[in-house]
């Protein structure tokens, strides 16, 4: 066996008396993809943040690059060849793609203290080409979509001499195409002898590229296994602690009359889209990232100016000019970018859950008893793991943050629920829970519109699938008969 690149031994960490990691150990060989899996809040991100220097462990040792450390600073970690892609996007919006890639080690120009922008953009372009990422190096990051930002994070991590690459849920906001490109990239890097720690809630990815797999549960290590010797069912069982089906199959209720009708809708990024959703229907939207799905959702929610088209709910014409009006009309939207567009990171979990409900139904005075009941109900329904209801959203794990965002809209009793990537970063068990909630909403006669880049999810959940391409609706397929290959062909056009 080759010498390990990395050996993390008996790592301990707790927050305010709540243990998050208990004596967790893991090693990493060169030329290996070591997957880290576990439920939301199991401690995966915390574990890799200890390696990247973002979090100080309470105990344990980190052995890498010939040294032994009890904790690392982010600079030390980078110097020792660890490059990390965090779950949340950490980019500087006002800088360009190239500037972000070279952030912290800018290329000097002639005059000391100045930056050679042209050379940076040239090299950034070469790196992006090598990674097969289609991005303009001179583009400001604020103009990029979430998936493009995710790609940029990867490019940024690849720049420099990394020997250990850590990826925390890198595929959550990627489309099919980009996902494939990423998998190919990971394989190439492995072939070059890098060690890769890969965190994902998608087991098919784990089985696709993983060599070994370490399972965490409640902050403790269940074990490390060879991927070849495991099955998806076994992993699920070890992770969740019970048998759980990985593929949700939805009981389809009969759909009723048309309730929600959109015709000829245009806005910036979307042209002439018409579709309708019937009582009890889940209408899915598929397409490549950037095909105009999110823009369409925002236009329906009054968050983006509509240029043409009508929206009808139960025979009444809607023309929401703001999200508040849309909510009053009975339309809500779960946004895709939870950190930037959904959560109040430095406010308590409870406020994050109740904010929209308060706007819609609350009086001038807050009712704390009602809030407590609502929040407790949502914590239980969505199995949100948190040390308390008054802890800040920022200290929740990524998947639990997503559940908080979902909870906010479940409280609002809207007739039309638009979910943009509802299960982003959510674990297998909680995914099933969200699917069940969506099914229940539909069964209760609501209209559910789901945008998803996750193929199995799109096919399993949708009664019909609208395919968006280049801002237009390219076609509508019945969900039950849709095949992945056929959909991808339609996505590409």
């Amino acid at each position: 066996m080759p010498e390990p690149l990395l050996d993390l031994a008996n790592i301990d960490k707790s927050y305010g008396g709540n243990p998050v990691l208990r004596r967790v150990s893991m090693d990493l060989l060169p030329g290996e993809v070591h997957c880290l899996v576990g439920e939301n809040g199991a401690g995966k991100s915390t574990f890799i943040k200890i390696l990247s220097g973002a979090v100080r462990p309470d105990g344990g040792t980190l052995r890498l690059a010939g040294g032994s450390y009890s904790s690392l600073s982010p600079q030390e970690s980078m110097r020792l060849g660890v490059s990390t892609i965090y779950q949340d996007i950490e980019l500087i919006e006002s800088l360009t793609v190239a500037d972000n890639i070279f952030l912290g080690h800018e290329l000097p120009a002639g005059i000391p203290g100045t930056v050679n922008i042209r050379e940076q953009e040239r090299r950034a372009g070469a790196l992006l080409d090598m990674l097969r990422i289609r991005l303009d190096p001179g583009e400001p990051v604020e103009n990029l979509s979430t998936a493009q930002k995710q790609n940029l994070q990867i490019a940024k991590a690849m720049h420099g001499e990394a020997r250990i690459l850590v990826m925390d849920e890198p595929t959550v906001s990627l489309g099919v195409d980009e996902k494939k490109a990423l998998m190919r990239l990971v394989r190439e890097l492995r072939a070059k002898g890098l060690g890769i720690i890969y965190i994902s809630h998608f087991l098919e990815e784990v089985f696709d590229i993983g060599d070994r797999i370490t399972i965490l549960k409640d902050g403790e290590k269940v074990g490390t296994y060879d991927v070849a010797a495991m099955t998806a069912d076994k992993v699920t069982r070890l992770m969740v602690g019970r048998d759980a089906s990985q593929f949700f199959s939805r009981e389809r209720s009969t759909v009723g009359e048309t309730r929600f009708e959109v015709s000829g809708l245009s806005c910036e990024g979307v042209e002439d889209v018409s579709f309708s959703v019937a009582r009890g229907e889940v209408f899915g939207f598929g397409g490549l990232v950037g095909s105009g799905r999110t823009e369409l959702a925002e236009a329906l929610f009054g968050a983006r100016k509509r240029l043409a088209g009508t929206i009808i709910l139960d025979g009444e014409k809607l023309a929401p000019a703001s999200p508040l009006e849309a909510l009053r009309d009975g339309v809500c939207l779960l946004t895709e970018d939870r950190k930037r567009l959904a959560l109040f990171m430095n406010r308590p979990l409870s406020e994050n859950v109740t904010v929209a409900h308060n706007e819609l139904f609350g009086g001038a005075l807050l009712s704390f008893a009602l809030e407590r009941a609502q929040v407790a109900d949502m914590l239980a329904q969505l199995k949100i793991v948190a040390a308390g209801t008054d802890i800040d959203a920022a200290s929740l794990s990524g998947g639990n943050q997503q559940k908080v965002a979902v909870a906010r809209w479940l409280l609002c009793r809207s007739e039309v629920l638009i979910f943009d990537e509802p299960t982003k970063g959510v674990d297998i068990g909680a995914k099933a829970e969200i699917y069940r909630l969506m099914t229940d909403l539909a069964a209760a006669g609501r209209c559910v519109i789901m945008i998803s880049s996750d193929m199995p999810e799109l096919i399993a959940m949708s009664d019909r699938i609208g395919v968006m391409r280049g801002g237009r609706l390219a076609g509508i397929l019945p969900g039950a008969k849709a095949r992945e290959e056929e959909l991808i062909r339609m996505f590409m056009g």
């Binding site: 999200p323 959904a342 406010r347 807050l366 948190a386 308390g388």
Partner: protein
Amino acid sequence: MKTMTRRKGRTFYKQQWFILMVVIVAMAAATGIANPKFFSVRNLVNILEQISTLGLVASGATVLMISGNFDISVGSTIGLSACAMAMLMKRDVAEPLAVAAGLGVAILCCLFIGANSLLFKAPSFIISLACVGIYRGIALALTGGTIQTIYGKFEYLGSTRYCGVLPLLFIVSLVGYLAVHFILARTRLGRRVYAIGSNRNAAFLSGIAINRNLMTFFLINGILVGAAAALLLSRVGAVQPATGAGMELRAMGAVVIGGAPMTGGKGNILGTFTGVLLMGVISNVLNMLQVSPYFQDITFGLLIIVSLAISAMSQKWQK
């Protein structure tokens, strides 16, 4: 992992206001030993009176800063509003009417900043920076730059002391604190203050009407600033356009000392209250110890830095 609903707030002794209280008590004790006059009723009443105006202004600044806004023209606004009140009183306008007019001026001044900041999508910090000169200029033009003395009118507010120890001024400022506390902690409006300050985009997408609410925050600030101008006028009996200068920095300083970050979304009135109290006590202590006024400015500056250091440390502990 099981879901827990157990409430586990930050233990009180780690919170900024508690640390400040300890500092205040320790400082008072030390000064009292050096100069027993510190604990005389007269001196304590004096402190309470001196911090009343600042208390109201800082309460308004608390609302604005939590919502991610700043009004650095409040000093000028106080000057303008107090001058307006004084000029009307000098012309024998009934006191309540004059105060109402001055209050209206202060409210308009604050709303003007909010409206411009919304209209031109500019940070209120910059707009209010521009307004510092505008409001002071208006006050100068109105008064011709002269001091406005009201000779014994409108004394009731400034001179009343219940049982000889409880100044009415302080009670008014206490009402200001309590009102803001009530708004922040118990009302939907308060939640909007925090939500907009924490993440404006998310607030908008959660159905919060941003424009209307921001104008309401500026309105609240205007009322408090106008009230502060009235207190000041009644206590001093004479004002000039420069009255109130520097108040904005001390008010914002008190909010920051109280633990609210400049980035918004966090903070509470208890922190601001202790921040104001600390400033009042330090100022008084420095006077008692006959420190030169120059050093007082230095001390306040350092105090703000030290309190920022405290918040930074306590955040690091949590990591």
